[in-house]
């Protein structure tokens, strides 16, 4: 086997003993669950079950039916209704559509009317998982007052009574001594209240703080364009996208939209044999990097220099700069590309010039403002501005940066006098720069904290007030493109929580107004008389306000001191020194900045790149790992500016050398049971001088190690015996080709595997009548963003199992995303292929043949059906499944003895009543002892089938959307009827890139994968094709057709 090497993990590649031990026990260690229980406990349990045996034979529990006394209009019990709303994260709205059963929100999807999402209705993993937060039993349920170091439960009424007077006094003093700390927000209502506060209490001070933000982009565009702007990428119009440390496909408020546009440009390969090209220069391996055609690992602190070198190279090659930036040409001369060994830059410059007008350069939010300024300049010069890049003028140009705001706040708190601090949903004690020592600062003052959880900030505040979840609140917010959405509640607040606007109204002395009245008030003032009610109804129904998007602009480059800009970049640069590291703080793909830390779905979601669950780790390159003599899981001592952190290493192929990536948001000290003892607090190293990148840090090997719960080696398809063979076969599983190869040989996928003549011993079932459900997954579109995994979890009541059980390989997700690395782990260009894998619904299913009780059978549409009530849990089917997509349920109603919520100490065998509300009533809640797996969302199929039959009509193509397909931002998943030759899925089955996974087993799957495509500048010297002709060196020679 020649060509690119494909591999799953470094453990597998090096065949480490740990990996081998894991593989050899397909269902890793079983008996431990017993070891904890003593004989006494055993007798107790047995006694109880004998006692219960006598109770059998009674009628099943008496159920009651409770109809409304007065039923709301259009409400049919048991029929789901969808409402549009929005979730605000980091100051940007994500437009959503939420499905509600009998008043209980069950499933979050994207708003399919919203122009920001291009009417495609997709939502990312974070937004979808937010529903679990609402039903989180760890949420704070009442106001708390801190008395003698203890938090005493109080009521909202008591809070009002006790704070009324001091607040009135503050107002009388013009707000002197009133400090307000809020998260970033785009809410017009909040802004209006803030205006009111400033006019009534001119001395009150407001600080807006987010640990992760786009402030650098604001400041960079302020330099280059004269005013702060947001960048809007038109990825569907760009042929060449160059990302300088920008993870726009994942860590971006517009990632869902961007992914769709990007995937569409990828898929042009099928129609007109062209494709966009993505070049990524970054330190950490990001999701965007995993889709790159060329990816170059560079330290994050080198990235601005690389950008300047590219600019110098472009000028040398004849790029014309606008007159306003003429001074930069001279200054750029200092950045000689040759001297700094960036071998790829000349070629990249050529490529950019060749595609001028259809290129774009994007710079990531953690890069300094100066880099953003240079990128804006280059985009203008390359003809991108207006065509592939547009700008949106920031609404609040005068706002200080978040970093400046938190510093000013610390200063104000450090000054004399006891102040009243109102913290609105923020958690500065956890996420403010470490050197400010916020906990101590805040404890000196009277603080009122409003938040979902009694978190770290609540612990030092005099008052904590439980906040309403966004699904319980009225509000408003703007998306990245400026479109205004009204946030409407799906349910009355479960614990009578309050919103930020209600709290602010109370501060202003208005205790009566509800959030509903405040939000309506904001917008009714602006509407012409008499039209408001119609406007309001339409805004609520559609989930956005028509025509409220900000105008896209193409501003020219402003006069600026470009020499100073470049000086700043140059002076910040230090060449890499042996043994020295930079630290890069990155928002986590799952817990973001820490606010989703108590969300079990997200904690258990494998990170798209590292496949890490229930933990964070310091990502380092294999070369550095070797030098430090650490392997994944070994502790590192990371020290910067006199602070140290002990955190396990994760050796990430493709990571830049001399750089350590530290995901934020873990190691929460006070967030709930799920977040407890999970991960390490990387904020403890983060100071105001290096909020994103610390240029100088020392990293050494620490004592001990921690087993990291990664899922990458779980469900490995082969035994130890065939592992070497398997490594050769991975290119066959996750097939990949280049655009050039695709043009030369459209059927290149067939060269990746032997085509065996496939014979059937017995006649298969006839599926020519009725629908023949099937799914196609396009690997060229898939970015690995994992929105589908959360969608499936929410739709199908998939339980969370906890870290311990993930380590045992017992995670339950019905769809997983296999991540394969390609290429040499030591080289810079390590590639990644993402392959979502759910049940393949084989027509000739191996699982069915071994089930002793016929618990898994085919239905007449050809679905491989799992009958939970027949299943006796032999797990034969899982053993015989070549794709390892069946999951055995070890848990009672989602909660086993080792469930995180039980703290591993007692047996919590039931979901709490609150948690039960979040289950999808259309899907059986499985219990311990049964196998489960992907059903192709049979509940969704049946719902459409029944509706079609009731109305005597045919099912339309695209009417049935599986949960994973519905949410896929890249449109990578397509489901439909194969018996309809015009259906989208039929067409994809006929696509040249389509292949069947493990076709030689003749299980005849109902899934096809479309091979991944890359579009490199040049064809690789060793195309990853089968170099050998059939029949040589591949073991099984018999049965070859040649």
């Amino acid at each position: 086997m020649t060509g690119k090497q494909h591999w799953r993990s470094l453990g597998e590649l090096s065949d480490s003993p740990r990996f081998r031990a894991f593989l050899e026990s397909e269902f890793p260690p079983l008996p431990e669950a017993w070891s904890a229980s003593s004989r006494r406990q055993f007798l107790k349990v047995m006694g109880a079950s004998l006692g219960l045996a006598g109770l059998t034979g009674c009628r099943w529990p008496k159920e009651t039916i409770v109809p409304f006394a007065s039923r709301p209009e259009n409400r049919i019990p048991g029929v789901p209704v969808q409402y549009a709303t929005a979730m605000e994260l980091g100051g940007y709205a994500r437009p959503l559509l939420v499905r509600s059963y009998d008043g209980r929100p069950i499933k979050i999807e994207g708003n399919n009317l919203h122009p920001f999402l291009a009417q495609r209705g997709r939502a990312d993993a974070l937004a979808q998982a937010a529903i679990l937060d609402m039903y989180d039993p760890d949420r704070s349920v009442n106001p708390l007052k801190r008395q003698d170091g203890r938090a005493v439960p109080r009521t909202w009424g008591e809070f009002l009574a006790e704070t009324r007077e001091p607040l009135a006094k503050l107002r009388a003093a013009g707000g002197d001594g009133l400090l307000i700390v809020s998260q970033a927000s785009s809410s017009p209502t909040l802004a209006a209240l803030r205006e009111r506060l400033h006019s009534e209490c001119p001395k009150a001070r407001w600080f807006e703080y987010e640990p992760v933000s786009f402030d650098n982009e604001r400041e960079g565009t302020r330099i280059a364009l004269g005013a702060p702007h947001r960048t809007w990428l038109k990825l569907d119009a760009a042929d060449l996208v160059v990302s300088f440390d920008d993870d726009f496909l994942m860590s971006h408020p517009a990632a869902v939209r961007y992914t769709g546009d990007f995937a569409a440009a990828r898929a042009r390969a099928d129609t007109d044999r062209t494709m966009n090209r993505l070049v990524v220069i970054e330190s950490n391996y990001s999701v965007t990097g995993s889709k790159a055609d060329h990816r170059f690992a560079e330290r994050a602190s080198d990235v601005p220099v690389r950008l300047c070198q590219l600019a110098a190279e472009l000028l040398k090659k004849g790029l014309k700069l606008p007159p306003a930036a003429a001074t930069i040409a001279e200054a750029l001369k200092g950045f000689d590309a040759g001297a700094l060994q960036a071998r790829y830059l000349p070629e990249l410059a050529d490529d950019l010039l060749a595609h001028a007008g259809r290129v774009l350069i994007s710079v990531g939010p953690r890069q300094p403002a100066e880099a953003h300024a240079v990128a804006a300049l280059l985009n203008g010069a390359l003809g991108a501005t207006g065509k592939t890049v547009a700008y949106i003028e920031a609404a609040d140009a005068a706002r200080p940066t978040h970093a400046a705001a938190i510093a000013a706040l610390a200063q104000a708190l450090g000054g004399d006098g006891r102040k009243m601090v109102l913290v609105l949903n923020a958690n500065p004690v956890f996420d403010a720069p470490a050197e400010l020592n916020f906990a101590e600062l805040l404890s000196r003052h009277d603080a009122i904290h409003l938040g979902l959880y009694a978190d770290e900030t609540a612990a030092v505040s005099g008052w904590h007030v439980n906040a309403a979840h966004f699904l319980e609140s009225w509000g408003d917010a703007r998306a990245w493109d400026g479109t205004l959405s009204i946030v409407q509640p799906l349910i009355a607040p479960l614990y009578d929580g309050k919103t930020a606007v209600e709290m602010l109204a109370h501060v202003l002395g208005d205790e009566k107004s509800t959030a509903y009245e405040l939000v309506r008030g904001t917008h009714s003032a602006a509407a012409p008389a008499g039209t408001f009610e119609t406007w309001w109804q339409k805004a609520l129904h559609d989930g956005f306000v028509e025509g409220s998007a900000a105008r896209l602009k193409a501003p020219g480059v402003a006069e600026a001191n470009w020499a100073a800009v470049l000086d700043s970049i140059r002076s910040a640069y230090a060449p890499p020194a042996e043994g020295e590291f930079e630290l890069v703080f990155a928002p986590d793909y799952k817990v973001y900045d820490g606010r989703f830390a108590n969300n079990g779905w997200l904690q258990e979601l494998p990170d798209p790149i590292t496949k890490l669950t229930w933990d964070n780790a310091a990502y380092i390159s294999p070369a550095d790992a070797r030098r430090l003599n650490v392997r994944s899981g070994d502790f590192l001592e990371v020290a910067a500016e006199g602070r140290t952190l002990r955190i396990p290493a994760y050796v990430l192929p493709g990571h830049a050398r001399g750089s350590v990536t530290l995901p934020l948001g873990y190691g929460r000290r006070s967030a709930g049971v799920v977040a407890k003892r999970v991960g390490f607090d990387t904020y403890s190293l983060r100071t105001a001088s290096g909020p994103a990148v610390v240029r100088k840090a020392s990293v050494k090997r620490g004592r001990g190690s921690r087993e990291l719960a990664t899922t990458q080696d779980h469900h490995a398809i082969d035994s130890a015996l065939g592992r070497k063979e398997m490594r050769g076969r991975v290119p066959e599983l996750a097939r990949e080709g280049t655009l050039g190869e695709y043009k030369r040989n459209p059927k290149f996928v067939e060269t990746r595997a032997h085509i065996f003549p496939l014979h059937q011993l017995f006649a298969g079932a006839d599926y020519s009548q009725g629908p023949r459900w099937a799914m196609a997954i396009d690997l060229a579109r898939c970015t690995g963003c994992s929105a589908c995994v959360v969608a499936c979890q929410a739709e199908n009541n998939v339980p969370v199992v906890g870290r311990e059980e993930v380590l045992r390989g017992r995670e339950m997700s019905w769809i997983r995303i296999d991540r394969y690395f390609t290429g040499d782990p030591e080289s810079d260009e390590v590639g990644v292929i993402h392959q979502p894998l759910a049940c393949q619904h084989c027509e000739n299913a191996p699982c069915e043949q071994v089930c002793p009780v016929a618990a898994t059978v085919h239905d007449s549409d050809g679905l491989n059906v799992m009958v939970y009530n027949r299943c006796i849990g032999t797990r034969y089917c899982s053993n015989n499944c070549p794709y390892k997509v069946r999951r055995f349920n070890w848990f009672y109603n989602h909660h086993g003895p080792k469930h995180p919520r039980s703290g591993g100490r007692w047996l919590q065998t039931k979901l709490t009543d609150i948690e039960k509300l979040g289950n999808n009533p259309d899907v059986t809640v499985r219990s311990r002892g049964v196998m489960e797996k992907c059903t192709f969302c049979v509940q969704r199929i049946n719902a459409v089938k029944i509706d079609a039959k009731n109305n005597q009509r045919e099912i339309r193509d695209g009417e049935i959307l599986t949960a994973c397909q519905q949410t896929c931002p890249a449109d990578a998943i397509v489901f439909g009827d194969l018996n309809d030759p015009s259906s989208a899925v039929s067409k994809l089955f006929g696509n040249d890139r389509a292949y069947e996974l493990l076709q030689h087993l003749n299980v005849r799957t109902r899934n096809r994968y479309l091979a991944n495509l890359k579009n490199p500048v040049r064809e690789p010297e060793h195309p990853a094709e089968h170099a050998q002709p059939h029949g040589s060196g591949h073991g099984a020679a018999e049965g070859h057709a040649g």
Partner: protein, 215 residues
């Protein structure tokens, strides 16, 4: 070939086999008795509502109260409001006034009435009313002569084999779509011919797959 003492084993073995056969037969028979399937289950409801009076004597259509039956999985128990639609204007004699007291109470306070579920399928079986009543299956086929019941009870076993009996031979139960809620309807031609004709006309092809009801 075998030692002599094994002769006794033959008897023992036959006896054991016989016991197992009887045991299995006993369990299965028990499973189908009304005791196990709850046929005849007739709990005392919070309101002594008489279907015989309303649906039988007064001739109310089932759908007057069970409004969602043609649209949704659940037929739905009516809200108190529905009762009051008539009872706000009906004067009852003193003897019967007491019967509607809980209704008035609920209407006044807005607190719902907690009815006891009689036709209780297991949670893993997903039955859909609309798919049946819009496809030629009458209410009476599963619920019996509700219009004669003073107190509603379970008329049919509601077991899986009972469901499948009809899914295999729907002809025996199909009726014209305008006779769905008519409890006393009798076919004017032999049910077999009518059923076969309606089956072709309505394109009835009831699924017998597990996935039809279990998800």
């Amino acid at each position: 070939m075998f030692p002599k003492w094994t002769n006794g084993l033959r008897v023992l073995f036959a006896g054991a086999l016989g016991f197992v056969a009887i045991y299995v037969a006993g369990i299965v028979t028990f499973g189908f008795t009304p005791y196990a399937t709850d046929v005849g289950y007739m709990p005392v409801q919070p309101v002594q509502y008489s279907h015989a009076r309303h649906a039988g004597k007064l001739g109310l259509d089932c759908r007057y109260c069970h409004v969602a039956v043609e649209e949704a999985a659940n037929a739905t128990i009516p809200p108190t409001q529905t009762c009051m639609g008539c009872h706000a204007n009906v004067t009852l004699d003193d003897a019967r006034k007491a019967l509607v007291e809980p209704i008035l109470e609920s209407y006044k306070t807005g607190m719902p009435i907690e009815w006891i579920r009689i036709h209780d399928l297991p949670d893993y079986a997903y039955f859909n009313h609309s798919a049946h009543v819009r496809r030629g299956i009458g209410c009476v086929s599963c619920h019996g002569r509700i219009d004669t019941m003073e107190v509603v009870y379970q008329d049919q076993p509601l077991s899986m084999s009972w469901c499948l009996d009809c899914h295999r031979e729907p002809e025996k139960h199909l009726r014209p779509l305008d006779q769905i809620t008519n409890m006393s309807w009798q076919p004017t031609e032999p049910q077999e011919t009518l059923g076969a004709r309606l089956r072709a006309e309505y394109k009835i092809d009831p699924p017998q797959d597990c996935s039809a009801c279990h998800r």
